[in-house]
């Protein structure tokens, strides 16, 4: 099995439209949550696709504009995040043959808002339905577009796991590289644009944060006063590559995927399951060859859901055991909102930034922790020498996931 490194990261989010801006926002604990016409959210605003890809190499920029210039917004944002990761991995300067590069897109129901917004025009005159609708209405339009932009012709597909989709993507892409199916895999966690129907549906389940006069205080992961999650928009990208390929190309790994685990609860409901969560955390650590006391940092799933955070806190206490008082715990969703299908990839980018940057980011609004035994990062960032990080993701339908990232190949 090949060892799998992260050689590039990219992100377009409410708190930063590139990795440098995103990392600065993490350090500052700056939240992207605001009041929007649809309700509380962390939207990507003031963003232009041509500007976002302006810094790419000329051939790459031209292909991006030609392939995705008229694509639905989630695809444009995905391409922009991918261009960042591709450039950071220096794949333009030191290329890999296209048929050795795979594409995995994490997330599903990615076109719901696109279809929803076309409905009024359709009611008025069906003849003006955009001619590319048959292509644009497919989630896999992301895959085809990314494949075209980067000339990536190895294996590719979308993968889904509700809010665990991002981690499912990390696992699938890691397996493609570990097995030698490809040398390199471009993974994108795709931006999820909620429709008013989806928002309403989450609210009906009691999953959404209650409206408040101070949007910045609405999302409160692990706080006793939390009321639910706030939807966030982001696309995030990782270039995952065999360490052998990275060495051949002379590109230093930013982190290594040391272990991972996926497991189901046998429960189609929205309820979290303590045993299922403990199981994947333990399995991911075991796959990485780590003891619970080796974990330096946990990027928790922590959406600020009432039941979800409580169960995750209990799962961490159980799975970390004697390591419970040494591993830092925070929630990136307090800053980015819950990026749903993209969340696991957003949080992988955040984790790589913290491993490399030697810090742990704040969890704003955590005034009264639900579990006093956990070592939560408080209102300000802390310097931290991190070697091993755990990133959790739990989805509706009993889909549990955990990924372990290590700072360098020697430590995985």
């Amino acid at each position: 099995m090949n060892r799998v490194a992260v050689t590039g990261t990219g992100i377009v989010s409410a708190i930063g439209a590139d990795v440098a801006a995103f990392t600065a926002a993490l350090r500052a604990g700056r939240t992207g949550i605001v009041a929007t016409p649809d309700g509380l959210g962390a939207p990507v605003t003031d963003w232009s696709f041509p500007e976002a890809v302006a810094g790419a190499s000329t051939p790459l920029r031209r292909r991006a504009l030609r392939s995705a210039g008229r694509s639905p917004r989630p695809v444009r944002v995905a391409v922009a995040a991918a261009v960042q990761a591709w450039t950071a991995a220096r794949l333009t300067d030191f290329p890999i043959p296209g048929d050795r590069v795979g594409v995995v897109v994490a997330g599903h129901n990615l076109t719901a808002r696109y279809v929803h917004d076309l409905r009024p025009g359709w009611e008025e005159n069906p003849a003006y339905l955009p001619a590319r609708f048959a292509l644009h209405a497919l989630d896999t339009d992301h895959v085809g577009t990314l494949s075209e932009v980067f000339d990536a012709t190895g294996e590719g597909c979308t993968v889904g796991g509700a809010s665990a989709s991002g981690n499912v993507g990390v696992v699938h892409a890691t397996r493609l590289v570990a097995s030698g199916t490809v040398d390199c895999c471009l993974l994108v966690g795709a931006l999820c644009e909620l429709t008013p129907l989806h928002r309403r549906a989450f609210a009906v389940l009691g999953a959404l944060a209650e409206p408040t006069s101070d949007p910045g205080r609405a999302c409160r992961p692990f706080d006793r006063d939390r009321s639910g999650f706030v939807p966030g928009e982001a696309a995030a990208a990782l270039v995952l590559e065999s360490t052998a390929s990275a060495t051949r190309r002379g590109v230093p790994p930013r982190a290594v995927v040391a272990g991972h685990a996926l497991a189901l609860d046998g429960d189609r409901s929205a309820a979290p399951n303590l045993d299922g969560e403990i199981r994947v955390i333990r399995a991911a650590l075991a796959a990485a060859g780590l003891a619970p006391t080796d974990v330096d940092y946990v990027n928790a799933h922590a959406t600020a859901s009432r039941r979800g955070d409580e169960v995750e806190a209990a799962a961490l206490v159980a799975a970390l055991g004697p390591g419970v008082d040494r591993a830092f715990v925070n929630s990136t969703k307090a800053l980015t909102g819950h990026c749903l299908g993209a969340a696991g990839v957003v949080e992988a980018v955040a984790t790589v930034a913290q491993l490399g940057g030697g810090f742990v980011h704040p969890t704003p609004n955590l005034d009264d922790p639900v579990e006093p035994r956990l070592r939560f990062v408080g209102p300000v960032a802390r310097p931290a020498d991190l070697r091993y990080a755990l990133s959790n993701g739990f989805g509706f339908g009993g889909i549990n996931s955990a990924v372990v990232l290590a700072r360098t190949p020697d430590e995985g």
Binding site: R66, G69, R70, A127, Y128, P130, A131, R132, L135
Partner: protein
């Protein structure tokens, strides 16, 4: 705006890399680097802007600008 101008502007929006001066009567869409899906998009956009509806089957096998302009023009 003439029908030709509407079609030209729609074409340049769908395939922005085309040189605007190259979009002249007598050219085919294939000459200009357009795929069949680009053609469908150009025709749909042009119909919407002209406020006309032409059965999509009338454009089958049509690949030159003059015929597209003529078909659209009959309905304006």
């Amino acid at each position: 705006m003439t029908v030709f101008e509407v079609v030209r502007d729609s074409l340049l929006e769908v395939v922005p890399e085309v040189d605007p001066d190259a979009v002249t009567p007598g050219r085919t869409l294939a000459d200009l680097g357009c795929t069949s899906i680009d053609r469908a998009e150009i025709v749909t956009l042009s119909m919407e802007r002209l406020g006309v509806v032409v059965p999509i089957t009338e454009f089958r096998d049509v690949n030159d600008l003059d015929t597209i302009v003529e078909l659209l023009g009959r309905h304006v």
